[in-house]
């Protein structure tokens, strides 16, 4: 007990850890090492000469660095730039659609009572409970009939829909956090609901909108199953589906350096966006999980 008392102030200076400071640093570094190893070795593999990336057993540190795998990626089927363009168009489309619809609906839910509010709210709850994987079969049939398969716009509409429960929830909470008096004084000053939203309310919910936008972008950029099912022709592939072209089960010998170059290209936007907008990402994550 006395021993404890002596240690306490020292620990307090470095906040309270479950371990003594030195052990804490060692444990955290070890976990970081485990977490980073796959990422770093993948990056190194993509930066080897392609022949060296095929070697077995692998060398852990490359003999020669080379960007040849990345250059080869531009020659895969329609070329990596084509797939990046597809994915960017899809992701920004999803982002814009999701932000627009969820800001409008979030404002409507937070501040108005209207007929059908309960039905809409119930549908959203149902969407949270029923996994989207369960309705891919009918979506595929409907999309085939409407000629929306192999159509990025069609896929974008699906992504927007499935971002809505989370996004509307975040926006509704953002609007509810604004004092009613702000909106009322805008109305008394002659603002219509539409101009109140645009000029007074929206600027106040921008942090929420950034979280919504970020998650919409990530979802569209990374989604695999729906894109795999609905985009059957190579020119319409997204970046994650491009990776399936690089897989050996379909095309004989796998070019491992090429595959890891593809993996790195897919990861870069996610890592950059996360590092720059970390705060909004974490906030969105908290809000999203409280919902469910």
């Amino acid at each position: 007990m006395t021993n404890k008392m002596q240690i306490a102030p020292v620990r307090a200076r470095f906040e309270k850890q479950i371990l003594p400071l030195r052990a804490w640093v060692i444990v955290c570094s070890a976990i970081s090492f485990l977490i980073l190893t796959p990422l770093v070795t993948s990056l190194l593999s993509s930066l080897r000469r392609p022949t060296e990336a095929q070697e077995s057993p692998p060398r852990l540190w490359p003999r020669h660095f080379s960007t040849e795998s990345f250059r080869k990626l531009t020659g895969v089927s329609d070329g990596v730039w084509h797939y990046i363009a597809n994915s960017l168009a899809l992701s920004f489309g999803t982002l814009l659609g999701t932000v627009l619809l969820s800001v409008l609906a979030g404002f409507g839910f937070a501040r108005f009572n209207f007929i059908g509010k309960k039905i809409f709210f119930g549908s959203i709850l149902l969407m949270i409970m029923i996994p989207f994987q369960a309705i891919l079969t009918p979506l595929y049939v409907i999309f085939s009939q409407l000629h929306l398969t192999n159509n990025l716009f069609g896929l974008c509409l699906i992504y927007i829909t499935y971002q809505l429960p989370f996004s509307i929830f975040v926006m509704k909470n953002s609007f509810q956090a604004i004092p009613k008096s702000i909106e009322e004084s805008a109305m008394v000053d002659g603002c219509t609901p539409w101009s109140t939203l645009r000029q007074v309310m929206f600027p106040l919910v921008i942090p929420g909108a950034i979280s919504v936008a970020l998650f919409a972008f990530f979802a569209a950029w990374n989604e695999f199953l729906a894109a795999l099912i609905l985009m059957t022709d190579q020119p319409h592939y997204t970046v994650p589906i491009m990776l399936t072209i690089l897989n050996s089960r379909l095309y004989g010998q796998t070019d491992w350096g090429l595959m890891q170059a593809g993996v790195i290209v897919t990861m870069i936007p996610c890592v950059v966006l996360f590092l720059t907008l970390q705060k909004y990402y974490i906030q969105g994550l908290m809000a999203g999980s409280v919902k469910s």
């Binding site: 906040e15 850890q17 371990l19 640093v25 955290c28 976990i31 970081s32 977490i35 980073l36 190893t37 796959p38 095929q54 692998p58 609906a105 409507g108 009572n113 509010k117 549908s123 149902l126 969407m127 409970m129 029923i130 996994p131 994987q133 369960a134 309705i135 891919l136 079969t137 009918p138 979506l139 409907i142 509409l157 829909t161 499935y162 809505l164 509307i168 009322e184 109305m187 008394v188 609901p193 990374n222 989604e223 695999f224 199953l225 795999l228 099912i229 994650p240 990776l243 399936t244 897989n247 491992w256 593809g262 993996v263 897919t266 990861m267 996610c270 890592v271 996360f274 970390q278 999980s289």
Partner: protein
């Protein structure tokens, strides 16, 4: 400028107009939900009673799809492997997540630095993470078998994804790597939310270390714990990407999960009606999990 006054805000005409305005704001989003969720939801139920080939005649066949599903030994195999995977992954994810959450609950610069590193696997796509691990654990060129060999920790001669417990192990390692930090952040936020006076009081009473964790910290974040566990169960029951990419369902179809089976029936064999019946069953199972979830969360609120 219109003539305005305070009274205007409570006038009946104004309230009616507000009701219409509110509906107008939400209608666009509702249309999306209607067309891309509610209609397909009705359609999946209808399709499950039909023989629905991609081309050719669609026939009503009553409960045949469901009867076939329950009689299909292949289906029970997919359910079994999905459940086995869920039962293994859930406690593993939670233990790592809790341990990491306790490590990085502080607010210092160094803590934040580690937290950012820990969190990196969460933000990359599951598809690309799966392709990364497919390579990372490859017996010939992958670093992981090589590192284990250098450490004299294993000399498995067969390809890892070619034999059964190992194939599942590879996917589980990938998922633990990818998702532990997701749960970590939620648990960390809950732990940070515990008032420091409570912990100090516990310490004065002699509850420190593991004891404090077990009898003070964990009970106080019970709600978050059940949330995290349920998210993990639901996510594991829907596993697809990781198995499709890393094991391809092999060896011998022993890692085909439920969603993988739906994919296979609907989009490889184009038995869309049967795929729809499997989807309905999967949706019902997941709704059951959701119901249990809301029960559990409500009961932990009551206390």
């Amino acid at each position: 400028m219109k003539d305005t006054s305070e009274q205007k805000l409570s006038h009946p005409n104004f309230l009616r107009r507000r009701a219409i305005t509110g509906a107008v704001f939400t209608v666009p989003a509702f249309l999306f939900v209607l067309v891309f969720f509610l209609i397909p939801l009705v359609k999946v139920v209808i399709m499950s009673f039909q023989d629905y080939p991609l081309l050719g005649e669609i026939k009503w066949i009553g409960l045949s799809n469901y009867r076939e599903a329950f009689a299909d030994t292949e289906l029970w195999r997919t359910v079994k492997v999905t459940l086995l995977y869920t039962v293994i992954v859930t406690p593993l994810l939670f233990s790592f997540a809790l341990f990491m959450a306790l490590l990085i609950k502080g607010t210092s610069k160094l803590t934040k630095f580690f937290r950012t590193i820990f969190f990196l696997p969460v933000v990359i796509g599951f598809g690309s993470a799966s392709y990364l691990w497919y390579w990372f654990t490859d017996k010939m060129v992958g670093p992981m078998p090589e590192i284990l060999r250098l450490l004299h920790l294993g000399t498995q001669s067969e390809p890892w994804i070619g034999s059964m417990p190992l194939a599942l192990f590879v996917v589980i390692a990938l998922v633990v790597w990818k998702f532990s930090s997701f749960q970590m952040i939620l648990l960390m936020a809950a732990i940070q939310g515990i008032p420091s006076e409570v912990l100090e009081a516990a310490e004065l009473d002699g509850a420190t270390g593991i004891r404090q964790l077990r009898s003070v910290t964990l009970p106080l974040i019970k709600r978050t714990i059940s949330l995290v566990l349920i998210l993990s169960v639901a996510g594991s029951l829907l596993a697809f990407d990781q198995f499709y990419i890393v094991t391809g369902g092999g060896p011998d179809g022993s890692t085909i999960t439920t969603v993988f089976d739906i994919y296979r029936q609907s989009f490889l064999q184009f038995r869309l009606g049967y795929g729809a019946a499997l989807s309905v069953l999967a949706a019902l199972a997941l709704m059951l999990v959701s119901l249990v979830q809301s029960r559990v969360l409500r009961s932990s609120d009551d206390e």
